[in-house]
C-alpha cells in the first residue's frame, strides 16, 4: 500500500453518479478507508446508504458514534448529523447547527480528518451547489494530504468544485475516471 491510507469524499448536488462510479470501481479488498460526506435532500433520510451499497463492492455503512473505523470499508455520514474523525481513529457524530447551511458539513469532516490523518489522507471535492468543502480541502492540503477536485467541466453543478479549487490552490482537477485511476494506484 502507498503512503495514502484514507480517502475523504465530499459531494452535493450532481455528485451521486460520480460517487457510485467510484465505489463501483474499487475492488473487493480495497485497502484504503473511505469517508463519504454527501449532502442530501432533507426528506431523504433513509435508503441512501442502501442505494450506494447496491453497486459498491466494498462495504458501505453509516457509522455509530464513537465506533472505530477499519481498512477497506466505506462510511457515510448519517443524514442530519455532522461526522467528525476523532484522534484514536474513531468517529464522533454531532447534531450542532448546520455549517454553510449543511448538516452533514463537508468542511467539518474534512477538517477533522485532515487534523488526525495528516499526510495519509486524500481529499476529494465533487460536484455541488454551495461552498461547503472548500475550507476543508484546504486543510487536507495544508496538513500534507493530497487534494483533488472534480473536473469543473465534468461537474454537473460547478460552484462547489470551483470554490474548492480556488481556496485550496490545488492543481489536481480530475475527471471521475482519473479519480478512479488515482485511487486504484494506491493499492
Amino acid at each position: 500500500m502507498g503512503k495514502y491510507k484514507y480517502v475523504v469524499i465530499g459531494g452535493s448536488a450532481g455528485s451521486f453518479q460520480s460517487v457510485t462510479r467510484i465505489l463501483e470501481a474499487l475492488p473487493v479488498g480495497y485497502p484504503l478507508t473511505i469517508f463519504l460526506t454527501l449532502h442530501r435532500l432533507k426528506h431523504v433520510r433513509k435508503g441512501f446508504v442502501e442505494a450506494l451499497a447496491l453497486k459498491s463492492k466494498i462495504k458501505v455503512e453509516e457509522p455509530k458514534d464513537k465506533s472505530p473505523f477499519f481498512q477497506g470499508k466505506a462510511y457515510l455520514a448519517p443524514a442530519n448529523y455532522h461526522l467528525y474523525i476523532e484522534p484514536g481513529n474513531t468517529f464522533s457524530l454531532s447534531t450542532e447547527e448546520p455549517v454553510n447551511h449543511s448538516r452533514p458539513s463537508i468542511d467539518l469532516t474534512f477538517e477533522s480528518a485532515a487534523y488526525v490523518l495528516k499526510e495519509k489522507l486524500i481529499g476529494i471535492v465533487l460536484s455541488g451547489a454551495n461552498r461547503d468543502g472548500a475550507a476543508g480541502l484546504k486543510e487536507v492540503k495544508d496538513n500534507g494530504g493530497f487534494a483533488i477536485v472534480q473536473s469543473i467541466e465534468e461537474s454537473q453543478v460547478k460552484t462547489m468544485p470551483e470554490t474548492a479549487l480556488h481556496l485550496s490552490g490545488t492543481t489536481n482537477e480530475f475527471t471521475t475516471d482519473q479519480i478512479i485511476e488515482f485511487l486504484l494506484k494506491q493499492i
Binding site: 458514534d65 465506533s67 464522533s92 454531532s94 487534523y115
Partner: protein, 278 residues
C-alpha cells in the same frame, strides 16, 4: 480552530472556577463549539478565559452555548413507533411508570412521550422527570411553543407515529395534530395545548458530575443525542449511571446512531433501537 493547548487551558479554567467539567467531551466537536463561541463573541482565548473568570453570568451563558439543543417532535418515527407498540405496551400492566428524559432540551421528546401516554390512557399512572444542564431550554420546554414553518416535519412525524401502526397496516387512527398543538401560521408558532402541561417535573441536572438525583428507579430512560458529545470514558460512566437507575427489565432509549460499546453492554439486551436492562 483553537489549539489543543487552548482547549486544555479552557478545561483547567472551568474546573478551577466552577463545578462544571468538560474534559471528557468529544475532542473535535468540543473544539468546534469553542471556536464558534470565540467567533460569536469576537474574543480570543485569553479574553474568553478572563471574562468567564470575572463574570459568573457570562460563564453560565458559555455553558449554555457549549451544549447543543437540536431536537424534534417524534424524531425518528420508527423509534417512537417502537416506544408506543412495544415498550409502553409492555409497562401498561404495571402500577406506576417512572420515566426520565435525560438531556430533555426544549422538550419536544417530552411532549412526544406525553402524547403517546395520553393516547394509551396511561397519563395518570406515570411520573415523568425531565432534566437538562441548561435552564433556558428547560424554561422553553415548560412553555412548549415551537416555530412552525421550520418544523413542518413534526406533523409528518406525528402522523407516522399516531395515525398509522406499522405492526398492523389495517389500523388507522384519525387523530389530528390539532388535538395536541395549536398552530398559528400568522405568528409562525405551534403551541402545546394545556392538557399536556404541568405533568412533568423539570430539574436542572448535569449528567457529567451529578448522580441520579431522584430517589427512584426508572422504567424508561431516554437520552437521545446527548452522549455523542462525550468521549467513551464519560459514555461508559453514564451507561453505568443509567443501568443503576433502571429497574430490572427497564428500557434505555438512545439516539439511532448511538450504541453501548463498552463494558456495560453486557448489562443490557439490545432490541432494534433500544436496550433492555437484564
Amino acid at each position: 480552530m483553537p489549539t489543543v493547548e487552548d482547549i486544555y487551558r479552557f478545561h483547567n479554567t472551568i474546573k478551577e472556577i466552577s463545578k462544571y467539567d468538560f474534559t471528557e467531551y468529544s475532542e473535535k466537536s468540543f473544539a468546534r463549539r469553542i471556536e464558534k463561541i470565540l467567533v460569536d463573541y469576537r474574543l480570543n482565548m485569553d479574553e474568553l478565559l478572563d471574562k468567564i473568570t470575572e463574570e459568573k453570568d457570562f460563564l453560565e451563558q458559555i455553558v449554555k452555548d457549549i451544549t447543543v439543543n437540536t431536537t424534534e417532535l417524534f424524531r425518528d418515527p420508527k423509534v417512537w413507533q417502537a416506544i408506543k407498540h412495544r415498550i409502553l405496551a409492555k409497562v401498561k400492566k404495571q402500577g406506576t411508570i417512572n420515566i426520565w428524559h435525560a438531556g430533555c432540551s426544549t422538550g419536544q421528546e417530552v411532549y412526544s412521550m406525553l402524547i403517546l401516554l395520553t393516547e394509551l390512557d396511561l397519563l395518570d399512572r406515570v411520573r415523568i422527570y425531565a432534566t437538562d444542564i441548561n435552564i433556558d431550554v428547560i424554561e422553553k420546554a415548560k412553555i412548549g411553543e415551537y416555530v412552525y414553518r421550520f418544523n413542518i416535519e413534526y406533523i409528518e412525524n406525528f402522523k407516522q407515529v399516531i395515525q398509522v401502526n406499522p405492526y398492523n397496516f389495517e389500523e388507522y387512527n384519525n387523530i389530528p395534530f390539532s388535538k395536541y398543538f395549536e398552530v398559528n401560521k400568522v405568528n409562525d408558532t405551534m403551541t402545546v395545548k394545556p392538557l399536556l402541561k404541568n405533568i412533568v417535573s423539570y430539574h436542572k441536572h448535569d449528567l457529567v458530575c451529578e448522580d441520579n438525583i431522584f430517589k427512584t428507579k426508572f422504567d424508561i430512560i431516554l437520552c437521545r443525542n446527548v452522549l455523542i458529545y462525550f468521549n467513551t470514558t464519560l459514555q461508559n460512566k453514564l451507561f453505568k449511571l443509567f443501568s443503576d437507575s433502571l429497574n430490572r427489565k427497564g428500557t434505555l432509549i438512545l439516539g439511532i446512531h448511538e450504541s453501548i460499546l463498552g463494558p456495560i453492554s453486557s448489562s443490557f439486551i439490545k432490541y432494534g433501537n433500544y436496550y433492555i436492562k437484564k
